[in-house]
Amino acid sequence: MHLRDSDSDAVFRSEVRDWLRSAVASMPTPPLPDDWPGRRAYDGQWQRMLFDAGYAGINWPAEHGGRGATPTEHLIFLEESAAAKAPDVGVGFVGQMHAGPTVIAEGTDAQKSHHLRGILTGDHVWCQGFSEPGSGSDLASLRTRAFRDGDDYIVSGQKIWTSHAMAADYCEMLVRTDPNELKHKGISWLIMPMNLPGIDVRPLVTVHGSTEFAELFLDEVRVPVANLVGAENDGWRVANVTLSFERGTGFVGELLDTTNVFQELIGLTKSTSRNGKTIWEDDSIRREIGIIGADLDALWAFTKRNVSQGARGGMAMGSGSGFKVAFATSQHRLGDLALRVLDRASLSMDDLNGEPTGELVHSKLHAFAISLGGGTTQIQQNIIAERVLGLPRER
């Protein structure tokens, strides 16, 4: 077992670091959070620079235009990107992390040639239409219907938690093509262009005021049958093939952000005084910092274990679920400590006195995104209990 870089990884790290230094310096000021045209342009500019430098699709296979990097190189790239304060994947998230890998695994040659390059260059932005108002944890109960009509499907229904829908060109959709089949059977995976008639996008504002998500209202949208990925009624399996792409790096960006927020919180405890001494001098606060710090260090080590296992062919059963639950717990604990430290500064979601106070309030609220998004903590616990520990199903 090792933590140090191998010789070739050290060379890669140094190359990435050198490139990032000049590339990041050439980027303009980032747009405001709700400026979606601005964000699309900014994220697209960065993605194009990655593409031209050969870093786009870093973990995608080389034959599909990616770099074909190892999981360890991917981790190094993310670490160095954070250290250089490089832009994150932004509106490219769904395309690069989910839709692209799905098309690589299950798409036709025509679908691959039409879509993959656009995702890598940043020209095509994707969103995800999986969840529905009535189908959250029980996603397989989804009811958005797709009727076959000649060479088209006619799609009607409602989707929710569609991230970046405001900026997207395409939506990866799960639809019910066979209403007589229950649950996992009878679902298909469709590519829906977002400029088709019958699509109504309405922003869904989160508890921390983010406009990243939207609801989609679909009224007889005609999607060509040629946009079906995989076989009709086989969409549940298709939606899960990207799990085999996961090599332990899925939460690295979030973990880096959390580590930075934690350092800012420590700084705030040292710069803020209460009752004649700094907050840092309070034993109970300092020890809570120690516990959270130990947990974050452990989560880094957990990530490195998962990446190491991913490099050997695939992550161990339950390790992704376990990481996510532990990370959500730490994120909430950090947020709770932040509110204790902030005291009445927590009444403002905007930063006060040049300190990152509003950012810390945001961070506390963002913890729910980790404990709810992508399968709630309780769903992950069920997965671990049944698939790792072998406990019997409830029904």
């Binding site: 140090r4 420590i266 639950v325 309780q378 209990a385 019997p392």
Partner: protein, 324 residues
């Protein structure tokens, strides 16, 4: 970077686990807590596997592997609740003659933080090792006075209260004492990580067998979530314990003090919380002497006090985060 055991390391862990299951079954573990229950022949068998000298150079009679390998061995020992002065023997191997082959049995006390001079496994030991800030001393156990506790909290860890701080002959300097504290802390944390996995296994097996309301209790989400949390705590603890072990071998990758203290925090939490869950999942039977659940909990309480408290560890991590 590769933070998963190699094939050789997996084989090493399997060897220790199989030996523990065979020669340190739970009845044997329990018998080690009886007066004169320490079984020297089994201790020698354990030593003969290379257990204590795993990270000692071959020219000093050891196996010549790295410290991470000692960590993995202690994790496996912790899972099986293997009793005796495992940490003391590992630290003293290569330093005190005879420890590595089991012929000399050591015990150890850290005078660090005051409190009662409580020492584990003293009565079965040949030599007592005394650690303080100034260095390490050694004395024949027969020359030291102490009173055995009639009811040690962990029934498989006999405890003696020494009458006075013992007078010793010098064995190592302040630097060696600092290193022993770091390494001793991590080896105890490795046992805690293993302990947390052992109690989870016991609880899961019971939850599959025990039926109430006409079905296995492990089918109820109330228990599933408790047990999933136990598994997660173990994986978190194991991650930081392994990272700390590798950091001792490769000090350029980070602060050893921070890694070791972090491992203590996550491993102590995993062991104590998982053992509590194990007792709880066993229901009323978990409250009995007969069921093994309490042995995991009580051993965890012993280990989490070794070479520094939880609060000490939290202070160390906080300080090193703030000054990085």
């Amino acid at each position: 970077m590769d933070l998963q055991p190699t094939d050789d390391q997996a084989a090493l862990v399997e060897m220790i686990s199989n030996f523990s299951a065979d020669r340190f079954a739970i009845e044997t573990v329990r018998s080690f807590g009886d007066p004169n229950g320490f079984d020297r022949s089994r201790w020698t068998e354990l030593a003969a596997l290379g257990t204590f000298g795993i990270a000692v150079p071959e020219e000093q009679g050891g196996v010549g592997l790295n410290f991470i390998d000692a960590v993995l061995v202690h994790e496996a020992l912790g899972t099986a609740l293997v009793p005796g002065p495992l940490v003391a023997a590992t630290l003293a191997s290569g330093v005190v003659d005879g420890v590595i082959d089991g012929s000399v049995v050591p015990c150890i006390i850290d005078l660090g933080d005051g409190g009662p001079l409580a020492i584990e496994n003293f009565r079965s030991s040949d030599v007592l090792l005394v650690v303080d800030d100034a260095g390490i001393g050694i004395v024949e156990s027969a020359d030291v006075l102490g009173n055995d506790v009639a009811h040690s909290t962990d029934p498989t860890t006999p405890v003696t209260i020494l009458t006075n701080p013992p007078k010793t002959n010098p064995l190592g300097d302040a630097e060696l004492a600092r290193q022993w504290r770091q390494r001793g802390s991590l080896l105890a944390s490795a046992q805690l990580s293993g302990n947390s996995s052992g109690s989870t296994l016991l609880a899961v097996e019971y939850a599959k067998e025990r039926e109430q309301f006409g079905r296995p209790i492990g089918s109820f989400q109330g228990l599933k979530h408790l047990l999933a949390d136990s598994w997660i705590r173990t994986e978190v603890a194991r991650s930081s314990v392994w990272a700390a072990g590798v950091t001792i071998d490769e000090p350029e990758v980070g602060s050893i003090d921070r890694a070791v203290a972090g491992a203590r925090l996550t491993a102590a939490r995993a062991a104590t919380e998982n053992a509590k869950t194990c007792v709880q999942v066993h229901g009323g039977m978990g409250f009995t002497w007969e069921v093994d659940a309490h042995l995991f909990l009580k051993r965890a309480w012993v280990l989490e006090t070794q070479f520094g408290s939880i609060d000490d560890a939290a202070e160390i991590v906080a300080d090193l985060y703030a000054t990085r």
